[in-house]
Structures are given as C-alpha cells and as structure tokens.
C-alpha cells in the first residue's frame, strides 16, 4: 500500500497534475476571498454613499452616513454569505497546501515558484 501511494505521488508530480490542481485551488481560494470582500463592502458602501448624498441635500450629517455603513456592515457579516465565501476560501487554501505538501514537500507558493526553473518556457512558431 505504501509503495503504491509512493508510485501515485511520483506520477502526480512528474505528470504536473498536482501542480495544476494546486493552481486551481489557489485560484478558487483567491476568487472566494475577493467575492467575500465584495459582499462585505459593496452594500455598506452603497448605503454610505446614498446616505452621504442624502445628507448633503437634507441633513448635512456625515455621522448618519457612517451609521448606515456600520449597520450594513454588521448585517452583511451576520447574514452568513460572507462567512460562507470566507470558509470556501480557507478550504481551498488548505487543500492547496495539503496537496502541495504531500506531493512536493513544500508549500504551494514555494513549489509553484520552483516550476519556473523546472519547466522551461516553450517557443511556439
């Protein structure tokens, strides 16, 4: 069993399949993190901007806009969407780290940066 696992790990490394999987997982992790950030900040900023515009013409009070921003921010955190994307991002990052560590013996960034030396750039004419 151990020998078979070694063979599969070796094939995963030499066929570059593990590297591609690590790249996919890192990409999905970054995508999920950015989506979480978008969900976290988009609605509060829209509310802030709307309240600010309102305050210029009617109330002239920036604290009202800041309060709208803080309320929206708290609502976005507690409704679970941001946490879901954040969890997805962490899972993808952990998967990339686990795969890279078990196949190459290094973390994902270090093993991918070594690919620049290992796989030379091709010239297509």
């Amino acid at each position: 069993m151990k020998a078979a696992t070694q063979a599969i790990v070796r094939i995963l490394a030499e066929s570059h399949v593990a590297a591609v999987a690590v790249v996919f997982l890192l990409f999905w992790s970054i995508e999920s993190a950015l989506t979480a950030l978008y969900w976290l900040l988009s609605v509060p900023f829209m509310n802030f901007w709307g309240a600010l515009n309102l305050s210029i013409f009617y109330v002239s009070d920036i604290f009202y806009a800041l309060k709208a921003f803080a309320t929206s921010l708290a609502m976005q955190i507690t409704n679970g969407v941001v946490l879901s994307f954040l969890f997805n991002s962490i899972v993808c990052l952990a998967g990339a780290w686990f795969l890279s560590r078990s196949v190459y013996g290094f973390g994902p960034v270090r093993s991918l940066s070594r690919y620049r030396v290992k796989v030379p750039r091709g010239i297509h004419e």
């Binding site: 030499e14 590297a19 679970g80 795969l99 290992k118």
Partner: protein, 132 residues
Amino acid sequence: MSDRLKRALVESFIGTIALGYLLAQALLYFVGIFSRPVEQWVQQRMYPTLAANASQSFPIEAALPQAISFIVLLLVFYVLLRWLYFQPMVQRHPSLTRTPDSGWAVIFAPIPLPTPANTSYRKLGRRSGFFR
C-alpha cells in the same frame, strides 16, 4: 486511435489540466461531505421559517450528494491517470498498429511499483524528489 488520442492529450497538456481540475474538484467535494450538513444545520437554525418542513435533527443526508460526487470524480480521475500517465510515452511512428500496452489493458494493469532505482529520491528527504 487510442494511442494517438493519448499522445495528443499528454503532449498538449490538456490531459494534465483536466486531471488537475478533477483532482481539485474531488478535494473540494471531500470537504463538502463534512461541511454541507453543518451548513444546512446552521441554515435551519438561522432561518427556521424557511426550513419548516425539514427535520430538526442533524441533516446527515445532505452529505450523500457530496459523497457520491467525490467517489465518481475520484474514479474518473484514477482511470484517466492510469490511462494517460502510468505507462511512459515511447517515441513511435503513428502508423504503427495497436500494441498490447494500450487502451483498456493499461487501465486494468497492476500499478507499476517503484523499483530501487526510482526510489532513491527518498534519501533526499523530499516526498516525490521532483525538485532535486
């Protein structure tokens, strides 16, 4: 035909990219086996009016689609990996006929275990010895 397809998939790296995608998806489905029931349980507790018909117990059945997807993806991944990469590609004229080491014979052949010659990388202290 099978050999030509295999050569095209390996040399164009399409097989590598497809297998990498399958492996990454399989990992995520494996995590989903544990996280999906927890997610549904939290949703039931946060929005009890939306989940009025759902049972109050822990929704362990939510892990079933994830488990099935994980097993199927892993199976497809393993079959494709065996077909494409377990036998090294040899330079062969494309007009040569089908050989016994191609197609289904490769998929169902026993795993080639590492010989002492190709296990020397273990002495170097890294898992696969890829970055020597």
